[in-house]
């Protein structure tokens, strides 16, 4: 008996379909651990050596094999049959030629490794078990989606992406062993996976799931339109000079000695209308007092009796006029760009016309007052024009994107009213360009393009170039007024600014996209007990040692599915933690039962013969090495469960015939006479048919008791009308006597019942015979 770990395995190597076996030096690839990883990329390297007369491998330009070229590695069984190495279908990622030792180092990776490189998740996204928000569709989140559902995705040795639960067939059950590793027999080495790290007692597992039906972010928001309206209500001071009539106050008096003294101000009684002095200035001054009888012009005359003035002891005083105003700002954003980026924004402001040119409205008012104002009615009944709401400013920005969704240019156009740039000579009377002109009323709602700003973004020669071209209307810049021909911005002043930057700091922020908001989620947590009683207290600091974990992606699934995912993830994280702590790093030769039908999470029994310890393990993060001499693998096996049973270790030796003890240099043919006893038939690999595994379960049971009290009131608004008093009716009883009978004569025919039947009482006949005839006049008074 005996077991020989035979690691010699001849290999066949092809790259891009060409046989490179004769140049093969070594092949080393590793799988990623499934510890909280959903995607398990495999990557490593292949070394080719130059051999005389073989294919050329030197490649200084590093392009001998293009990225994505398929590399296959097949192995030969002793009987000559060929099988694919478990990791024998990979792709070239890069090549590097070492001229000193004439070797070509080829970095290899599976499709998932390539996806990590290019961040192209188009092939993986349809496979993720928990859907991802649009903004979360990255390779890392794809991995998180698989791990959240306790699943793994790997590429098999035929190039297919395969997903499966990490533990068991459903993520919860115990996996079944597919091969047996025996320390001292088949295992080349076995070392603990971790040092003496502290054992967590409890894992606090939190998870999140969407509020309500999922909210924003679940769908592509391209085409969305946002609108923001801001309405302000406020008071503004009307720009014109307005006036009020006010009664004068007398604050001095003359005492008996004729001396003037201050007194408390009083209003004189009765008011005798009398004009006051005419103001002397012309601008911003009250209008002249009204003319009196016989008076011409505006000069007051002392000859006119005071009594004829409109208001004696009244004066005209300036009074600011406060007017209510509304302002509405509408900001409208359209997300019609690629990836729902902003395509246009438009900001429009509506407000009182007086705000765009207060001087104009002050003059309109003053002009009116000068025409209609009189001393006693200083405002002349003029209206406060310009308080109507007009479109004051409109600014639109258009975004243009390139083929890579990058921002190429923005164009901002600003429109304002002509009134806003009108100058006093546009409306005031006088000589304008030699032409006499009356007061000219302007339209408040005529708009023109006052400014255009075009910004372009480019990259040239490793520098970022931002060019800003601005056109501004001459009416804005030079205050030329509105009658100077075309005042459109494109006919105005042009300014170009160029900004060049070689830093990698983006010149401008990327425009908003509504795709970035992700699903609003709420969070819950649960506890997973790992190793109860793994500490003593005091000291109180000894425990419990709680590790916080969370399911990495929001669970955008139904309520029922969520419960399944959470319970699976509890088992997943528990097995990973426990399994990692009790894990072993085991090296084995590439025995047929291991490599045939291999999966990254293949389970196996590990048996320590010396300590008679049998445990169920699961392969994780294997490293595969193939050289000219040997083919081995090392797996970081995670512990699953302690098991019972005794594996059988059959001898795998061949050719070990028993010597006859008397032969000297004898060579026999097959089945020759007197030959040594042959080794017998192949007994097969080590097995453990009677081995079984169990699991320990630790559960936290919440016993929740709820006390419910409620107060009910059946009346309207808690107020009940008083109930009527109890009624006690008097019930009186009396007796009466009555008889029931037919008053018939012998031979009379009786009536049938309502259905035509014969009533039983009639004894089967409707004809009365031998009736006891009661006196028909029984109740007569006679």
């Amino acid at each position: 008996m005996g077991f020989l770990a035979q690691s010699t395995r001849p290999a066949v190597l092809t790259i891009g379909g060409q046989d490179f076996t004769s140049s093969f030096v070594s092949f080393n690839v590793s799988d990623t651990s499934a510890f909280k990883n959903g995607l398990l990329p495999t990557s490593g390297n292949l070394v080719l050596g130059q051999s005389p007369g073989q294919l050329e491998i030197s490649s200084y330009s590093r392009d001998l094999f293009k990225r994505g070229t398929v590399v296959t590695l097949d192995m030969k069984n002793p009987d000559g049959t060929i099988y694919r190495h478990p990791r024998g279908y990979l792709y070239v990622i890069s090549v590097a030629y070492s001229p000193e030792n004439e070797q070509l180092d080829i970095a290899l990776g599976c499709r998932i490794a390539l996806a990590y490189l290019t961040e192209d998740v188009s092939e993986i996204l349809p496979l993720v078990p928990i859907s991802l928000d649009v903004a979360r569709q990255t390779i890392q989140n794809c991995s998180a989606s698989f791990s959240s559902n306790s699943q793994i995705l790997y590429q098999d040795n035929q190039g297919n992406l395969v997903s499966r639960y990490l533990f068991g067939s459903n993520g919860l059950s115990l996996p079944s062993s597919e091969w047996v590793s025996i320390l001292g027999e088949t295992a080349l080495s076995a070392t603990p996976l971790q040092g003496a790290s502290a054992l967590p007692d409890v894992i606090k597992l939190s998870y999140s799931f969407p509020n309500g039906d999922g909210g924003l972010g679940g769908v592509d928001q391209t085409g969305r339109i946002d609108e923001n309206r801001t309405l302000s209500r406020y008071f503004l001071t009307y720009p014109a000079s307005t006036w009020v009539r006010k009664q004068k106050e007398i604050c001095t008096d003359t005492d008996s000695s004729g001396k003037q003294v201050d007194i408390a101000c009083v209003e004189p009684l009765p008011p005798i209308p009398r004009p006051i002095d005419k103001p002397s200035s012309t601008c911003g001054t009250p209008p002249p007092r009204p003319n009196r009888d016989g008076e011409t012009g505006n000069s007051p005359s002392d000859t006119v009796p005071d009594i004829l003035a409109c208001n004696e002891n009244w004066e005209t005083k300036p009074s600011p006029q406060f007017m209510p105003a509304n302002k509405l700002a509408i900001e409208r954003t359209e997300y019609k760009g690629p990836s729902a980026q902003v395509s246009t924004t438009e900001v429009t402001t509506f407000g009182p016309a007086v705000e765009v040119n207060s001087q104009y409205y002050a003059d309109v008012y003053a002009f009116c007052v000068s025409a209609y104002g009189i001393y006693c009615a200083p405002n002349g009944g003029c209206s406060f024009s310009g308080m109507e709401s007009i479109e004051q400013v409109r600014s639109t920005t258009t975004y243009t994107y390139g083929s890579s969704n990058e921002l190429v240019s923005t164009l901002q156009e600003t429109f304002i009213t002509e009134l806003a740039v009108a100058q006093p000579f546009d409306w005031r009377s006088g000589l304008i360009s030699g032409q006499p002109q009356d007061f000219r009323y302007l339209k408040a709602d005529t708009m023109f393009r006052s400014q255009v700003v075009e910004t372009t973004y480019k990259q040239s020669e490793n520098t970022n170039l931002q060019t800003t071209t601005t056109w501004t209307s001459v009416a804005t810049v030079n205050q030329t007024g509105i009658d100077t021909g075309n005042i459109d911005a494109m006919r105005g002043i042009k300014t170009v600014t160029e900004r060049r930057s070689s830093t990698n700091i983006p010149l401008d922020l990327r425009p908003d996209t509504p795709n970035s908001p992700v699903t609003q989620t709420q969070e819950k947590s649960t506890e997973v007990v790992l190793f109860p009683s793994s500490y003593i207290s005091p000291p109180t600091e000894a425990g419990p040692y709680v590790v916080d974990e969370s399911i990495p992606v929001p669970l955008r699934v139904t309520f029922d599915a969520r419960a399944g995912i959470v319970s699976r993830y509890e088992a997943y994280i528990k097995r990973l933690y426990q399994g990692d702590i009790r894990g072993m790093q085991i090296s084995e030769s590439m025995r047929p039962e291991i490599v045939s039908n291999w999966k990254p999470n293949t389970a196996f029994y590990f048996y320590d013969t010396a300590n008679d310890a049998l445990m169920l393990m699961q392969m994780d993060a294997s490293t595969w090495g193939v050289t000219q001499d040997e083919a081995l693998f090392t797996t970081s096996a995670i512990w699953i469960a302690d098991s019972v049973g005794t594996p059988t270790v059959p001898s795998n030796l061949v050719g070990n015939s028993t010597p006859s003890e008397d032969g000297i240099g004898r060579l026999y043919g097959k089945n020759g006479a007197g030959e040594p006893v042959g080794p017998g038939p192949d007994p097969g690999p080590p097995e453990c048919p009677d081995c079984s595994s169990g699991e320990s379960y630790y559960e936290i049971v919440n016993v929740d008791m709820t006390l419910s009290t409620s107060a009910e009131n059946y009346c309207n608004a808690y107020i009940c009308f008083p109930q009527p008093e109890d009624q006690y009716p008097n019930i009186e009883f009396g007796f009466t006597f009555y008889v029931v009978g037919f008053i018939v004569g012998d031979g009379d025919v009786l009536e049938t019942d309502r259905y035509g039947g014969l009533p039983v009482d009639y004894n089967g006949s409707l004809i009365v015979e031998n009736a006891t005839v009661v006196n028909p006049d029984l109740f007569s008074s006679d």
Binding site: G2, F3, L4, A5, Q6, T8, R9, P10, K76, N77, P78, G80, L183, G184, T609, A610, S651, N652, L653, V654, G655, N656, S657, T658, P659, S660, E661, D662, G663, I664, G665, R666, L667, Y668, G669, K670, G672, E675, P676, G678, P679
Partner: protein, 134 residues
């Protein structure tokens, strides 16, 4: 008589069965010995601590013998058949029965050191090789 008998049945068609019994050795040293050395230390309080592999020490044989040339040729063919099987991936091992001293030892061995042949005379060849218990 002190003998070491070795047999091998090749796996590659046609199967050949080899059978040798060696009864002469190049010196007085016993051909059978053990692999490795004991590892022994003392603990802090003087307790003796022995460590080593968790299995019984395996045997190894270093054999130097003289064969007639015809036998040596067959021996060499046995080695080549064994090595070919090994290189094909078989867990190829030879059967051995050692009756040099003590109780007979019957086990399986592989060639740890390929045979080295030295011509002694036109008919005699010295054959030196090492075997390792599996």
């Amino acid at each position: 008589m002190l003998t070491v008998s070795i047999s091998y049945t090749s796996q590659i068609t046609p199967e050949n069965v080899y059978d040798f019994t060696i009864d002469n050795f190049g010196d007085n040293a016993m051909p059978r010995s053990y692999v490795g050395e004991g590892d022994f230390t003392f603990s802090a309080n003087g307790t003796s601590i022995i460590s080593g592999p968790a299995y019984r020490r395996k045997y190894q044989w270093v054999i130097s013998t003289m064969m007639i040339k015809a036998d040596a040729v067959i021996f060499d063919k046995m080695f080549r058949d064994w090595d070919e099987d090994r290189s094909a991936g078989y867990a190829a091992a030879c059967g051995i029965i050692d009756q040099t001293w003590g109780d007979p030892v019957s086990t399986n061995v592989i060639f740890l050191t390929p045979p080295v042949y030295t011509r002694l005379s036109p008919v005699d060849v010295s054959v030196n090789f090492g075997l390792q218990e599996v």
